[in-house]
Symmetry: C2
DNA sequence: CGAAATTTTGATCACGTTCAACTTCAGTGG
DNA sequence: CCACTGAAGTTGAACGTGATCAAAATTTCG
């Protein structure tokens, strides 16, 4: 098995979600055990299924173990806006569960393995383990930063910059989740979804991808994306990685 | 004094921030006292000053008591993207304080009165009062929903829809903060800022505002915006208000 | 292997930016 | 109180861009 294309983790590693929370606050083994105890069940969802539907009530959190999903909103004019791509370690139903009815839908892009946690139990755990609540504040803080980046993308960046920025961001997140190689990754996303994510038409995404290839910044083979000139790409996209461990030291100690 | 134009609250009301947290979780008088105890000081910032600067470290939260501010990012191509308009009850430095250096800048649009809280003390309080931590999770959850709406706006709505949607959303938030009348409000935002918020050029914002006036949906006098046909506006913008109290009943009880 | 989804290509055209000039408004000091 | 100044709003013309639509080529998957 090449590291390059794996979407799975090897046995023994802890879940990408735990890994992520650990970056935000130090959790004891007991905390982690408590977290695992509230997991209701694990299941695998086939690709192209809706996990959360706009307008329906959700009282479960789904933590992604493997696979890709997309959070999106359908507009009454028939257009679709994809809000974010969800990767291993992300929580499906995160903002959704906070409202009486979900504001957005989530659909699987590939087959997705999830852990299901009832919201009530999760909040209860947050009350008992303040570190967990604070780690969750950081989690949502990062989510917020990602959304902010997305707003900048769609609002003020050129189509070429958007596509380049998207590739870099996705890669950086996959890397953090242990699902990508240094300079390449597998991307099971159609150009239509990318368009709906970046506010572009699918044909234009196609043109931009070709332009990136023409400028020898990337190459693509099947669903494998390879950065041929990562620095050039970063310059073009003006990409600034969101280091998850960039907490002020004093604060980090406290959390 | 008309209710219409006031940006201040009458004495005796509690702060818009407390008011807001109360919607997310029930806080005891002791909790509120604790919250007030961590307030380091209050101050008023003149209009057009930067409160938070991108790249600098922030370890203070500024809670807005009165006035308008804007969170924004300057791009290297000279463009600017405004991420959100901050109103009374909002926290300046919310995502910022969570990173080693702030990712975005915040500038005041009008004179702004704030309460300053050191981040460390605030997090410490969250550890001691789990309800507060959970209320903050809801706060960021709503912030996330607002950002998501913004992405949809910029990504897939027409310029006319964007402007209409923006007016309705701003009004709804001002109403919740007790700073607007039923059908009108004061808006000290230049068309340039609105453009940078919605991903449009200032002249185009101007045209769209005129079109809304021409269709008898709104009227404007100085900085006073009045909805002449709120329903028509809502239909045009496909606006769905974000009710802050729309928590699932069972969850609400727990929180 | 066949059907469906996705990618690719091209032509046309509406839309919104850009830029510049002009007007109006708001705030300030004489 | 008015004149002055800079900021904000308004208008128009020209241009470039990315959407749209449709059709063909290719890939994916049952």
């Amino acid at each position: 098995m090449t590291v390059t294309s794996r979407l799975t983790r090897s046995v023994g590693e802890s879940s990408p979600f735990i890994l992520r929370l650990q970056q935000y606050a130090s959790l004891s083994d007991a905390d982690i055990a408590g977290l695992q105890a509230v997991v209701e069940r694990e299941l695998t969802i086939r690709k192209k299924r809706d996990v959360v539907l706009e307008g329906y009530e959700t009282r479960k959190l789904h933590i992604i173990e493997r696979g890709f999903a997309a959070r999106y909103k359908l507009l009454s004019n028939g257009k679709r806006q994809v809000l974010s791509i969800l990767l291993p370690g992300d929580i499906i139903g995160m903002p959704a569960a906070f409202f009486r009815s979900s504001l957005y839908s989530v659909t699987t892009v590939s087959d997705v393995a999830v852990q299901v946690i009832p919201l009530i139990k999760f909040l209860d755990l947050c009350r008992r383990i303040p570190s967990l609540a604070i780690a969750m504040l950081w989690y949502t803080g990062h989510e917020l930063a990602a959304y902010a980046d997305h707003i900048v993308d769609v609002g003020r960046r050129s189509p070429l910059e958007r596509v380049a920025h998207f590739l870099l961001e996705l890669h950086s997140r996959l890397l953090a989740a242990g699902c990508a190689a240094e300079d390449s990754f597998e991307m099971p996303l159609s150009q239509e979804i990318i368009g709906d994510l970046l506010g572009l038409s699918a044909p234009h995404v196609n043109r931009m991808l070709h332009q990136l290839k023409a400028e020898n910044l990337i190459s693509m083979d099947h669903r494998q994306v390879t950065f041929e000139d990562r620095e050039g790409l970063r310059l073009l996209a003006r990409f600034e990685p969101l280091s998850p461990t960039s907490l002020p030291a004093g604060v980090r100690r406290l959390a």
